[in-house]
Symmetry: C2
Subunit: 470 residues, 2 copies
C-alpha cells in the first residue's frame, strides 16, 4: 500500500481501462460496459465466454490486451475475483475497482479469506484497490464512471463530492439529486475497503480543486485515529451521515460491508469536537445542506428572515429556528413600513412575513426591503402556491429568482427556497431556479439546519484560516 495521495487519481482519470466481466446483457455491469465502450475513454472488455461486446473485440484475460492498462474494473463472480486481481497486478495496473459483492460481508469463511488475500496483495504491491462490494466512482468533471450514471441528466459544474461505503450513494442519490438540480464533482463508493478507505479519499478531495463540499456516509472505520487526524485538518466543510446508531442497525452493518459499526457515542463526540464537521440524519438532508454550502455565501450572524404565502409553514420554520439555536430576525420598523406601503392591510409583515395570496404583487419589493435590513443575515423563502393559478396565469417566477440571486450576491446573504405542493409545482420552480443557483428543497427543517451549519462554519477557525489565506 503506497502513501502517495496522487495514487488516487487513477480512479478518476484513467488513461486506459479494462472491464473484466464486461456484459452486454441484463446484468450488473451492463450500463457501465455500454457507456465506457461508447465513450472516449480507452476501454477494453474482458470476458472469458464472449468474443464481441457492442462491436468491440473481447479479451479472455487482461494480460491478452496489447496495451498498457491503468485501471481494472472487476465485475466477475466472487469466486473468480482473486485470480483476476492477480492477473491485473501482473498486468501492472495502477488501480483496481472490485464491484463484485460476496466477501467479508457474507460471514462465510471462504469468502472472508478471499477478501483477506486481496488485502495482502494490495499491501505488498503498488496497486491501489477500491472495493469489493461497491459501484466504484464517478467523476462528473470528465464524465468517467463505473456505474449507472446518466450524464445527460446530471447537473454540470457541481462541487459536492461523496465518499460512501454503499452503492446506493454512487447512483441512487445522485439521481435524486439531479432531480433537485444538485450537482456533484465526484462520487466514490468504497464497499468493504480492502485497501482504499475514506481517509485516502478525504486527503484526495481536500486537494481536489473541483470539490468544495465533502459528504461522507460511514458504516464503520478501520483507521479511527487517522480519521480524526484528517478531519481536524480538512478546510472544506464535511457533512457526515453515520448509520448504525442502534444495536440492530450495527448488526446489520456487519452483513452489509463486513464493517464494525463502533460505538455511536464516540462518533458523535468526534463529529461535535471538530469544527467544519457536521452530522446529518438522512441522505436527503445531507445533499440538501451540501447544496447550500456549495452555492451560498456564509451568513454574518444567525438572524433568519422568512418570506412566505403560508402562515403555517412560516410557523413550522420558527419552531425549527428556535430548536437549533438560531434567531428569528427582528425587522427594522422602516423595513415593515416599506412593505406596508405596497401590501394589502391583511398581510402579516412582522417576521415571518406572510404575504398570503398577494405574494406575486408584493414579493419583489418585500424581498428587497427584507434583504437590505441590517438585522437580517439569511432569508428563507417558502413557496406555497397551488398549481391551478400558476398554470392558468402562467405566473412568471424568473424575475423574483433573479432578484433573489442579485440581492444575495450583492449583500452576501444566503437564501434558500422551500417549495411545497405537487411535483408539477416543484418542477416548474426548479426549471426556473436552476440557473440562479438558489437551493430548492421540500423540507423546512433541512433549510434551517443548513443555515445553522453555515453559521457555525462562518464562526469556525477553518473559515478564519481560509480568510487569512486569501
Amino acid at each position: 500500500m503506497s502513501d502517495q495521495i496522487t495514487d488516487m487519481d487513477v480512479f478518476f482519470n484513467p488513461k486506459s481501462i479494462a472491464i473484466i466481466g464486461a456484459s452486454d446483457t441484463f446484468k450488473f455491469g451492463y450500463t457501465m460496459t455500454y457507456y465506457l465502450l461508447n465513450s472516449d475513454f480507452k476501454t477494453y472488455p474482458v470476458n472469458i465466454s464472449k468474443d464481441i461486446i457492442f462491436g468491440h473485440k473481447v479479451f479472455k484475460n487482461i494480460n491478452d490486451i496489447p496495451d498498457d492498462i491503468e485501471l481494472a474494473i472487476i465485475v466477475v463472480r466472487n469466486e473468480n475475483v482473486l485470480q483476476i486481481v492477480k492477473d491485473s497486478v501482473k498486468k501492472r495496473v495502477k488501480g483496481i475497482i472490485i464491484e463484485t459483492a460476496g466477501f467479508a460481508e457474507t460471514g462465510i469463511e471462504k469468502f472472508v479469506k478471499i477478501q483477506e488475500d486481496i488485502g495482502v496483495i494490495a499491501k505488498n504491491s503498488d496497486v491501489r484497490i477500491i472495493g469489493p462490494n461497491c459501484v466504484g466512482v464517478t467523476n462528473f468533471n470528465n464524465k468517467f464512471t463505473t456505474t449507472e450514471i446518466d450524464f445527460n441528466q446530471s447537473i454540470e459544474g457541481g462541487t459536492i463530492s461523496i465518499i460512501a461505503q454503499s452503492g446506493v450513494l454512487g447512483n441512487i442519490f445522485v439521481e435524486w439529486s439531479a432531480s433537485q438540480k444538485i450537482g456533484f464533482s465526484k462520487t466514490i463508493t468504497l464497499g468493504n475497503k480492502v485497501d482504499v478507505d475514506e481517509i485516502d479519499m478525504l486527503e484526495y478531495l481536500e486537494k481536489d480543486t473541483n470539490t468544495n463540499v465533502i459528504t461522507v456516509y460511514l458504516e464503520g472505520v478501520k483507521r479511527g485515529p487517522k480519521l480524526i487526524e484528517i478531519l481536524r485538518k480538512l478546510t472544506k466543510p464535511v457533512l457526515i451521515l453515520k448509520n448504525g446508531r442502534s444495536e440492530i442497525g450495527s448488526k446489520a452493518i456487519k452483513s452489509h460491508t463486513g464493517s464494525i459499526a463502533g460505538d455511536d457515542k464516540i462518533y458523535d463526540a468526534i463529529f461535535k469536537q471538530y469544527s467544519g464537521i457536521y452530522r446529518v440524519n438522512n441522505f436527503y438532508e445531507m445533499f440538501d445542506i451540501a447544496q447550500v454550502f456549495a452555492t451560498q455565501p456564509l451568513p454574518k450572524g444567525k438572524n433568519i428572515a422568512i418570506i412566505t404565502s403560508s402562515g403555517s409553514l412560516g410557523i413550522l420554520a420558527c419552531d425549527e429556528i428556535e430548536r437549533l439555536g438560531l434567531k428569528l430576525a427582528v425587522l427594522n420598523e422602516s423595513t415593515i413600513q416599506q412593505m406596508r406601503s405596497i401590501s394589502p392591510n391583511w398581510t402579516s409583515l412582522k417576521n415571518p412575513v406572510d404575504l398570503g395570496p398577494s405574494i406575486f404583487m408584493t414579493f419583489s419589493k418585500s424581498l428587497k426591503a427584507i434583504l437590505n435590513d441590517e438585522n437580517v443575515d439569511a432569508l428563507l423563502h417558502i413557496f406555497a402556491v397551488p398549481q391551478k393559478p400558476l398554470e392558468t396565469f402562467s405566473i412568471p417566477i424568473t424575475p423574483h429568482l433573479r432578484e433573489m440571486k442579485n440581492l444575495s450576491t450583492k449583500l452576501n446573504k444566503p437564501v434558500i427556497t422551500c417549495v411545497f405542493g405537487s411535483r408539477w409545482v416543484l418542477e416548474y420552480f426548479l426549471k426556473h431556479s436552476y440557473k440562479y443557483k438558489i437551493p430548492i428543497m421540500t423540507q423546512i427543517s433541512h433549510a434551517i439546519k443548513a443555515f445553522k451549519f453555515l453559521y457555525d462554519f462562518s464562526r469556525s477557525n477553518k473559515n478564519m484560516n481560509k480568510n487569512t489565506e486569501i
Copy 2:
C-alpha cells in the same frame, strides 16, 4: 350557535351557493369561481362591480338572488365582510365560509372587532360560519370545493380527511398527496374559527362513512376540555400535527390565525394519553402515515421484515425500528433456506434481506417466503434501483406489486414500499403501484413510524371496541 352536528353537512353538500366577491381575473377566488360556475352545483356569482362573470349574470347583493341559498362563500375585502355576513343571514343561508383574511390575526383593533361582531352573529342565529382567513372545504366524494383543487388530478376513493386552520392544507398538501397517489375524502380549513371549530368537524367526520382516517393540523384550541372529550370518544385513528412548539413559533401563530398556541407540553400529554391519537412532526409524515392507515391491515405484532436491494437503506430502517421500540423480525431458518435456494451466494438473507442487484430475479420468491413466515408481522420493501437499467430493460414491476398486494391481503399483514432515486423512478413506481393500494413513500422514517402507530392502534381499546362491534 347550534349544537346539531348535521349542521355541518351544508358545507359539504350545499344545494345552492352564492360566491360573494366572485372573480374572473387574476385574484384569490378565481379558480373556485371558474370551477363552481362551470359545475353542476347551483351557483350564483355576487359582485358589486361586475355584470357578467364567465357568462353568468352577476347579482349586486345576495338578497337579489331569486332563489334560496344554502351556502354563502365570501371572498370580498375584509372591511366589507361584516355587512356581507349580515346580508347572508338576512337571506337565511345555513352556512357561510369566509375566506377573506385580515381579522384577529392582524392585531389591528378595527379588524379584531369585526371578527368579534361576526362571532356574535353566529352565536345569535342558526347560521354556522367557517373562517375567516381560510380556503374553506373540499369534498372529494361529490367534487364540491371552495378552493384551487383540480379534481382531474385528485385520487378517487380516498378515505383520509383533513381538519386544519391553515389554507396550505386545503390545497398545497392535497396537491402533493395527489402526486403521491394519496387520496382524500374531505378537507376542511377553519382559519380564525369565529364559529365552527375542529370539535364540530371531528364530530362530523367520526360519523362520516367516507372518512376512515382523520388528520388534524392545530395552531391553537379555544375549547380545550371539549377537544379532550371528543378525542377520547373517537373510534377512528387521528393524526395530529401541532405547530408552535417553540416560543417564537407560538408568537407567529398569533399573527397567523389570531390563536393562542398554548403550552406544548400540555398538548403532548393529551395526545399521548388517548389511544388512537398520534402526534406527527411534519405534513409529509402526516399524510404518508395516514395513507398506511387508509390502505393497510393492522399488524398482529411488532416484528418488521425488510426486503431491499440497498444494504445501507436497510440499516437506516433498522436504526428506526429500534428507536421506535419495534422489533426486527427473526426469520425462520426455513425462510432463509427457501431464499438461499434461489439466490446468488453473495446476497444477505438475514433480515434485513439485501438482495442487491439480484432483486428482480429473486424478489418474488423471497417476498413469499418472508410474508409467510409467522415471525413476520409487517413488511418494508425498499426499492432502490437506478433509472438506467429500469429504462433500458423496461423492467416490469407490476407482477411484484400484485404479489405484494395478494399476500398482504391473504395473510393480513401490512406492507409499505419506500422508493429512492430520481423522480422518474418514483413516477414509474407510482404509476404501477397505484391500483394495488400499496403506500409509497420516500422516507424510511415515515414507514417505520406508520408501522409503530398501526401496531399501537391494533392494541388500543379503540380497535377492541371496533372488533366487538363487527
